[in-house]
């Protein structure tokens, strides 16, 4: 099929992320089977050989994360996919990617937890783990799409952000979205932006692999190009070698965070619908946002002024936009398929007294009816 044609396809969410990865230029995938994300690996195993890429099923989750980092250091765009228990195992190398600034994309299809939990049931229980799953202060970007089409778009975007900012990017959705089949339009190849990594240039002798190249992000050295650099998980100075000098440690750690905040206009994405004058604003993401939309329609039919704030970039949370968009007097309702993980972040931003959590953690998605009932309850008391 010619790339110029618009392709309408009915596909599942997991396959959508695989198609997007190939379109983004991903040419290396390492993974390990785990429910409910295995279809991502299956799709990549069939797609990659045709585009001169490499697929490998590694011996475990940790190794698959290590392998993609090795391939990324070799110059490839890389991805892996997993779910809860595998996401836990991958954290060691997600930390390495954050510290050594290695571009990579991780798909996490959330299932019930903790531990092996409920492999085939949906959950949004990894929201905090996606942000703080690995030890130490570290940057990470987490994107939370709410449809099969958006999984495609956000996976594309995840690659661009990873390459541009040299940071691990997690695309976070749940079992329902992973297995949901929807018709999506695959965009024409020349209609979306494909960002390439900034490679080292200039005199080899003066090159410092972790020196800010202008926007907070250092240039990366391609092996074999003359820059023989050292990559380490140890805290390192601009020259790439370990340091424990307090001044340098503080400076390089700050830069890790500043490169995200300085470029946050690229990172942030959200949807705000009728938030400015709403009496109640629902903060919802992923599959829960789908149920919320239906609940909102019903609420508005009842004459309730209800709005939706949907973070697509979950971490770092679009805090400033939330403050700008949302009526400061509105009640906030946070439905999510966990015991209230994002709601604590919303409490931090909006104040505890305004925020009501609507948690569900029984392995079932939140229903529109549940959300509607809570909206009615809040507004009646409000």
């Amino acid at each position: 099929m010619k790339k110029t044609q618009v392709k309408l396809q009915a596909i599942q969410g997991n396959h959508s992320s695989a198609l997007a990865a190939i379109d983004a230029g991903c040419r290396f995938y390492a993974g390990y089977p785990i429910t409910p994300s295995s279809e991502v690996a299956e799709k990549m195993s069939s797609l990659l050989p045709d585009v001169d890429g490499v697929f490998i099923q590694m011996e475990d989750e940790i190794a698959s994360m290590g392998a993609i980092l090795g391939a990324s250091l070799g110059g490839k765009k890389v991805m892996t996919a997993t779910s809860g228990p595998g996401f836990s195992l991958k954290q060691e190398h997600i930390g390495f990617a954050a510290g050594a600034e290695i571009p990579c994309v991780i798909i996490n299809v959330m299932r019930g937890g903790p531990s092996t939990g409920m492999p085939t049931r949906p959950s949004q229980g990894d929201v905090m783990q996606a942000r703080w799953g690995t030890h130490g202060d570290h940057p990470v970007i987490v994107l939370a799409p709410d449809s099969v089409a958006e999984i495609y778009q956000q996976t594309l975007r995840a690659f661009n952000l990873a390459e541009q900012l040299r940071v691990p990017v997690v695309v976070l959705f749940d079992e329902v979205l992973g297995h949901l089949v929807e018709s999506i339009t695959i965009p024409e190849a020349d209609t979306f932006e494909r960002v390439e990594r900034k490679w080292a240039s200039g005199p080899e002798a003066e090159f410092q692999p972790y020196r800010d190249s202008g926007n907070g992000v250092p240039e990366m050295a391609m092996p074999g190009s003359g820059y023989r650099v050292h990559t380490t998980g140890l805290t390192h100075a601009e020259h790439g070698f370990p340091t424990q000098d307090p001044e340098i440690v503080e400076r390089v750690t700050e830069r890790l965070f500043n490169k995200i905040s300085a470029n946050y206009s690229l990172v942030e994405s959200y949807e705000a619908e009728q938030c400015e004058k709403a009496d109640v604003v629902i903060v919802a993401y992923g599959i829960t946002a789908r149920a919320t939309r239906r609940a909102l329609r019903k609420a508005r039919e009842k004459g309730i002024g209800a709005g939706l704030f949907r973070p697509v970039t979950l971490w770092p949370f679009p805090q400033e936009r939330f403050i700008e968009e949302v009526n400061p007097d509105a009640q906030i309702l946070v439905p999510e398929m966990n015991r209230g993980q994002l709601s604590t972040e919303i409490e931090r931003i909006a104040g505890r007294e305004r925020v009501t959590s609507l948690p569900r953690f029984d392995g079932e998605p939140i229903s529109p009816q549940q959300i509607l009932e809570k909206i009615v309850e809040i507004t009646a008391h409000g």
Binding site: A63, G70, L73, G74, G224, R228, H230
Partner: protein, 290 residues
């Protein structure tokens, strides 16, 4: 075919080191530096360009050696350098990928990665520096600590059986397996040359010594005495021969212990999908040195 010693220039180790990082932080008497010298000597003799050399290491004393090499160096996580190396080699078959690991790194926390790397037979050279102890963390027992030896976690002497790294690698399918002691520097260099030239996964165990922590605690003498004791352990008939008999902890086999002709992973991968294998026979550009 690259002949050993083909390079016209004399081997000068400083040409391959990041001398700006000196002084290094290895303890006096540590065997790892001798192994590193032999490895760099082999790389020199094969004419492998530093730009096309990637050295991937794990955590521990062995892991710290990589940084001193003037090449593309990656100091990864504990036990997992082979996972990074696998991705790197598959992404960049033009690079020579050498892994430096230790007994704790690859036989304990990274055991799973080691056996599967052996099974796959991707063209990586894995160097295991075996000093029988976790030196970096202060001298705890490792999977290769000899019976009865004292460590900080075996105050009554080690009661656990040991792993034979070469037996393990052979059983798991490594297509080239060898062992040497640090006293045999030129033999070690030659073993590295053979391992680097081998197309497929080559596994080379170096019997190193930790004088400062392990040697001192067990009253094994100074560094020369420890090295001499390794030499005394060698079975004379094992020199230069493929030895079939099982390894005994006090009866070392050295040299090439096994070599088989199995399809190299990436070559097989390409052929499986009907792709032409990229020409990578130029040793200066990495790839299999045949």
């Amino acid at each position: 075919m690259v002949e050993t010693g083909k390079t016209t220039q004399e081997f000068e180790i400083r040409d391959y080191l990041r001398t700006e990082l000196m002084p290094h932080f290895m303890c006096p008497g540590c065997g790892h530096g001798i192994a590193l010298r032999a490895l760099l000597w082999a790389i020199h003799d094969l004419g492998i360009a530093k730009d096309n050399l990637a050295v991937v290491s794990g955590i521990g004393c062995s892991g710290r050696t990589a940084a001193y090499i003037d090449a593309n160096t990656i100091h990864t996580t504990h036990g997992r350098p082979l996972s990074f190396a696998t991705g790197l080699k598959l992404a960049r078959p033009d690079l020579h990928v050498v892994v430096i690991t230790g007994d704790g790194d690859s036989l304990a926390i990274g055991g799973n990665h080691l056996i599967h790397a052996c099974r796959r037979n991707l063209d990586i050279t894995c160097v295991l520096l075996n000093n029988e102890v976790y030196g970096m963390t202060g001298g705890q027992v490792s999977p290769t600590t000899s019976a009865g030896r004292y460590t900080t976690t075996t105050p009554a002497g080690n009661h656990e059986p040991v792993f034979d790294a070469c037996e393990l690698a052979t059983a798991a399918g490594a297509s080239f397996v060898g062992r040497e002691i640090t006293m045999h520097v030129t033999a070690l260099r030659d073993l590295f040359v053979q391992g680097l030239k081998h197309s497929g996964f080559s596994f080379i165990e170096v019997i190193s010594d930790c004088t400062e922590i392990y040697g001192r605690k067990n009253e094994l003498g100074n560094s020369p005495e420890m090295v001499m004791s390794h030499k005394a352990d060698i079975r004379p008939e094992s020199y230069g021969n493929v030895v079939d008999e099982p390894f005994r902890p006090t009866d070392l086999n050295v040299g090439v212990l096994s070599q088989t002709d199995r399809p190299e992973y990436y070559t097989a991968y390409r052929q499986h999908f009907g792709k032409q294998v990229e020409g990578n026979d130029d040793p200066k550009k990495g790839g299999a040195v045949t």
